[in-house]
């Protein structure tokens, strides 16, 4: 349909998108495809785009192959694997000029349904399947493997690598290996005989993966909770956080069962709702266990009252918030960074909470463990702010590490010996001047250290008090405590441009890979920007100084209202005019293309203004 000159030609740098039907078994085939590329030493960034549905609705899997290691979404599609007739028109429209359409040609498609400027690769997948398999379920499952075989052959993927992965996947269920390999070969053979040279896209062995690992943020965060010493998990199912609690369960079953007795060194309760989950977390933390919940924006909304209690009564709690599109039910299966304000100021009354912003699954593991130390040290709720993009997609990232010499920071807890030795105990008494008081656990000492925990105002010795002076003193101490937190939470990561510049950019969380790619490309266009990646709230002085050090700041984030910008301006008493928001919030992960376009537009406006200023 198109001439050869219109063929996109690329090696180890292109985007493939699989358009599938939810529940058709395509996920494992697509994953096999991606892992084969990684095994060939070529980095891949893959993203699931899926509906809130169990079976039948469209789902996509977008794979960016990038030897340069760009892990953000690129945007655009070079090869569309169009396996879903429902979304044909949309899928066709997504293909870049000169790109490729791969489709099941068993049933004829009207010529008007194609595009002139793309290359079409038709494979009669259904016909091949129907010939070989009689069972409808087998037809469906093997169809997926057959298209992997075709694609692997077309793109030059090492077939031995694919076969090796199949063998690993079905280890222990060995009789499944030969039929899968047979299906793979069916695809390969068809491509060899019918589709020689059909694409200009190639995968070539490279050495750009190294020791990197491929994992989801929810899996990593769940593992982080195991390493962080969490023993109690109370949760309520909600997309996109469910797989975090499930990962914790899985890791515990493998790593935390007492070998001698077969009993569990953990307790996991699927609660009746989010109110109950956070209540259990607070009860367990009050009683000295490390406890957490995993939820998303709607859950945070439901937990507000309890979060205020934990703040005011100073009870540690760890909340993993895997953010999705809000408000209300919003876009349950799409990504956003739109819970920043509702988490930072959760609850009625004056409150502020510690937030951590991991950039990828590796940091989700690290912060997932660290959050428990912070919660117990500061005696307050700590939110680990993942999002769907990090949480539910596998990212290629540096391997996880753990320092065996590390011990848990259990914070300020008086033991029976401390109490017996006559140490004065006032639950809300600021002994050390850092705003953090000492606590005791129930059952510690027969007649010392007991106190009454309450959500009402109280004096330093935890006695009920509605005296204004007691209340104000307590609220001021809570501010001092939050000041202390600044020095304990993960520091921001600052990176200055190669050339001196008066422009800076702030970003956080899952925006990171797209931001890094954008900065690299902007620098090559002569646009140099200093950057700082925010990793926690409260904001350290370094972040405020960064803003003050620059004439203009771009704050790149994934929500409509520039929530982190609002938080920064409010907490740092900063001039809003200095900070220009760059906002992406359609539910898809932000791309470097989007950031570059927005910054270039702003840059031109700024330099235009600068040259006008100079002219005057």
């Amino acid at each position: 349909m198109s001439t050869r000159s219109d063929r996109r030609v690329a090696v180890n740098d292109f985007v493939i998108k699989f358009a599938n039907v939810n529940g058709s078994g395509s996920a494992s085939a697509n994953r096999l495809f991606v892992r084969s590329i990684i095994r060939m030493g070529v980095p891949v960034a893959s993203r699931n785009i899926f509906p809130s549905n169990i079976q039948g609705l469209p789902t996509w899997y977008e794979v960016r192959v990038s030897e340069a290691g760009y892990a953000g979404r690129r945007g655009g599609v070079d090869l569309m694997v169009a396996m879903n007739p429902q979304t044909w028109d949309q899928d066709l429209a997504d293909i870049d000029h000169g790109g490729y359409l791969f489709y099941d040609s068993t049933r004829p498609v009207a010529p008007s349904k194609f595009r002139e400027d793309i290359n079409v690769i038709g494979v009669p997948l259904t016909a091949i399947c129907n010939q070989h398999y009689s069972d409808p379920r087998q037809r469906q499952l093997f169809k997926n493997i057959i298209y992997v075989g075709v694609l692997a052959e077309l793109l030059g993927i090492d077939m031995a690598v694919v076969e090796g992965l199949i063998a690993e996947q079905f280890k222990g269920k060995d009789k499944l290996i030969p039929p899968n390999i047979e299906a793979l070969h069916m695809g390969r053979d068809y491509a060899q005989s019918e589709l020689q040279g059909a694409t200009g896209l190639r995968i070539r062995h490279a050495d750009a993966v190294g020791d990197k690992i491929f994992l989801e943020g929810n899996n990593a965060a769940g593992l982080g909770a195991v390493y962080g010493g969490a023993t109690v998990c109370a949760w309520y199912p909600i997309t996109p956080s469910t797989s975090l609690a499930e990962a914790f369960t899985r890791h515990c079953q493998r790593l935390r069962v007492d070998k001698e007795t077969g009993k569990n060194r953990f307790a996991i309760v699927q609660a009746e709702d989010e109110l109950s989950s956070i209540g259990m977390v607070i009860g367990a933390s009050w009683n000295g266990a490390r406890a957490f919940t995993a939820t998303s924006g709607p859950g945070i909304s439901l937990m507000q009252e309890f979060i205020g209690l934990a703040y005011f009564a100073e009870i540690p709690a760890v909340l993993f918030d895997v953010q999705r599109g809000g408000p209300s039910t919003g876009m349950p299966t799409r990504t956003q960074q739109s819970d920043v304000l509702s988490a930072a100021y959760a609850s009625h009354g004056d409150t502020k909470h510690v937030l951590l912003f991991p950039e990828d699954p590796r940091e989700s593991f690290e912060f997932g463990a660290l959050a428990f130390d912070l919660a117990e040290r500061i005696q307050t709720p700590v939110f680990v702010m993942l999002d769907l993009d990090i949480g539910m997609n596998e990212w290629l990232c540096k391997p996880l590490t753990w320092d065996d010499s590390k011990t848990y920071d259990r914070g300020k807890v008086l033991t029976a010996e401390d109490l017996q030795a006559g140490r004065e105990f006032g639950r809300y008494l600021d002994v050390d001047g850092d705003g953090i008081p000492y606590r005791t656990f129930p059952g510690t000492h027969p007649n010392r250290g007991a106190f009454f925990t309450r959500g009402t105002s109280k004096n330093r010795f935890a006695k009920y008090s509605e005296e204004g002076a007691d209340y104000v003193e307590n609220m001021q101490r809570l501010l001092r405590k939050f000041e202390t937190a600044k020095g304990i939470v993960p520091a921001p990561v600052r990176k200055d441009a190669a050339q001196p510049t008066r422009v800076g950019a702030i970003y956080y969380g899952s925006t990171t890979p797209a931001m890094h790619e954008a900065l690299e490309k902007l620098a090559s266009q002569g646009i140099h920007i200093d950057t700082i990646r925010v990793r926690a709230f409260p904001f350290s002085d370094e972040i405020i100084d960064f803003v003050l050090d620059h004439d203009q700041i771009f704050l790149v984030e994934q929500n409509r209202d520039a929530q982190l910008r609002t938080l920064l301006i409010n907490e740092g008493a900063l001039d809003p005019a200095r900070i220009v928001p760059i906002l992406h919030y359609d539910g898809t992960p932000i791309t470097a293309r989007f950031i570059i376009e927005a910054i270039v537009r702003q840059w031109r406006a700024l330099s235009g203004a600068a040259s006008r200023d100079a002219a005057e």
Binding site: G229, T231, R265, A284, D404, P446
Partner: protein, 351 residues
């Protein structure tokens, strides 16, 4: 309420239990509830039960929600940690606390507003999970702190102090507890200490979710003619099915009853509940029988009290979760953190 400061002076002749504690060692600060409040009698029954069971006060954790009843944990067991949480959410906080340390005794105190209205969901799920705790509802059918609104346990047709009639069906907490799987279910009356103290003691010794509905008249807002939660009404309609003695293994059994009227039930921890049967046909180990008996008697306008149901072979949430015998809050790095070797293996599996 009283403004008298409680003296710390102990009379030297006060009787002591086996731990050397007197009754006073189980008390809390002075109640700020209305004089004559039924809730204060329940606090006093809790103190008595803990004294009689020789419990070290610091091994008990007092959990409550919000409301008059939820304030009471300040008024007993001053050496115990207490947690006055948020309205209707005591059960989840108690569940979490119990998960963290299975060795303590959890005493949840709630009210009919706290547990039958805003907290009905948590009440239900806590019982069905079998959290090992004593769950007491101090039931007066009315919101006291907000000045006399009906609660969800108020009977249909009963009237408020101002004369308004309640048009909604009442929630019977005891029937619900039976349905939801509580393994120890009792009902009593704040004015009947002889019945209430052993009922609480038996619940403390019970392993699993023990629920006690205690009718506790509100002297200020719900003690008038037309109320079905007043002292007079409850006394007139109280139909006790049994009287209870709790005997712990180390004690010799001294109580003597007429033969043929006794039933003994041994609990998980070896304690024996000796029931003096008042209703000859009532079998407290028969859950279905208990349910229908309650409904039949309620239709006749009777308030059935006593130990209504007990499952002697009960288990708790920890059994179901197969947690280790030691409290989870005592585990250290070595038992919790899989370390760098396990990380290396995990990394290898993700390539």
């Amino acid at each position: 309420m009283t403004y008298v400061v409680k003296p710390k002076f102990h009379h030297p002749a006060l009787p002591k239990n086996s731990l050397g504690f007197t009754h006073r060692d189980y008390e809390g600060s002075v109640s700020t509830l209305c004089a004559g409040c039924g809730h204060d009698s329940i606090s006093s029954a809790i103190i008595q039960a803990c004294f009689e069971l020789d419990l070290p006060p610091h091994r008990i954790a007092k959990m409550s929600g919000i409301g008059c009843s939820s304030k009471t944990p300040t008024y007993f067991l001053g050496q115990s940690h207490g947690f006055n949480s948020v309205h209707g959410r005591m059960p989840s906080v108690a569940t979490g606390a119990s998960l963290a340390n299975r060795d303590l005794i959890y005493l949840g105190v709630s009210g009919d507003g706290d547990s039958a209205s805003i907290g009905l969901g948590q009440f239900a799920h806590c019982l069905r999970r079998g959290v090992n705790m004593v769950y007491i509802v101090e039931n007066n059918g009315v919101y006291g702190l907000t000045k006399g609104q009906f609660s969800a346990t108020a009977d249909m047709g009963s009237t408020s102090k101002k004369g308004a009639s309640n048009n909604d069906s009442p929630i019977d907490m005891v029937s619900m507890a039976l349905l939801l799987g509580a393994t120890y279910v009792g009902r009593s009356f704040s004015g009947d200490k002889d019945q209430l103290v052993p009922l609480i003691a038996g619940a403390i010794r019970h392993r699993g979710a023990a629920f006690i509905d205690v009718l506790s008249p509100c002297v200020t807002f719900n003690n008038h003619a037309g109320s079905t939660k007043s002292f007079d009404y409850v006394r007139e309609h109280n139909e006790a099915v049994n009287m209870l003695d709790v005997m712990i293994p180390r004690e010799t059994i001294t109580a003597q009853y007429e033969p043929g009227t006794l039933e003994e039930v041994e609990q998980h921890d070896g304690s024996v509940l000796r029931l003096r049967k008042l209703a000859a046909d009532y079998d407290p180990t028969n859950r279905l029988g208990a349910m229908s008996y309650l409904q039949e008697r309620a239709a006749l306008g009777e308030v059935v009290t006593g130990l209504l149901y007990i499952d002697p072979g009960s288990g708790d949430l920890h059994d179901r979760l197969k947690t280790i015998d030691a409290p989870l809050n005592g585990l250290r790095e070595a038992e919790l953190c899989p370390g760098s070797k396990a990380i290396d293996a995990i990394n290898a599996s993700l390539r």
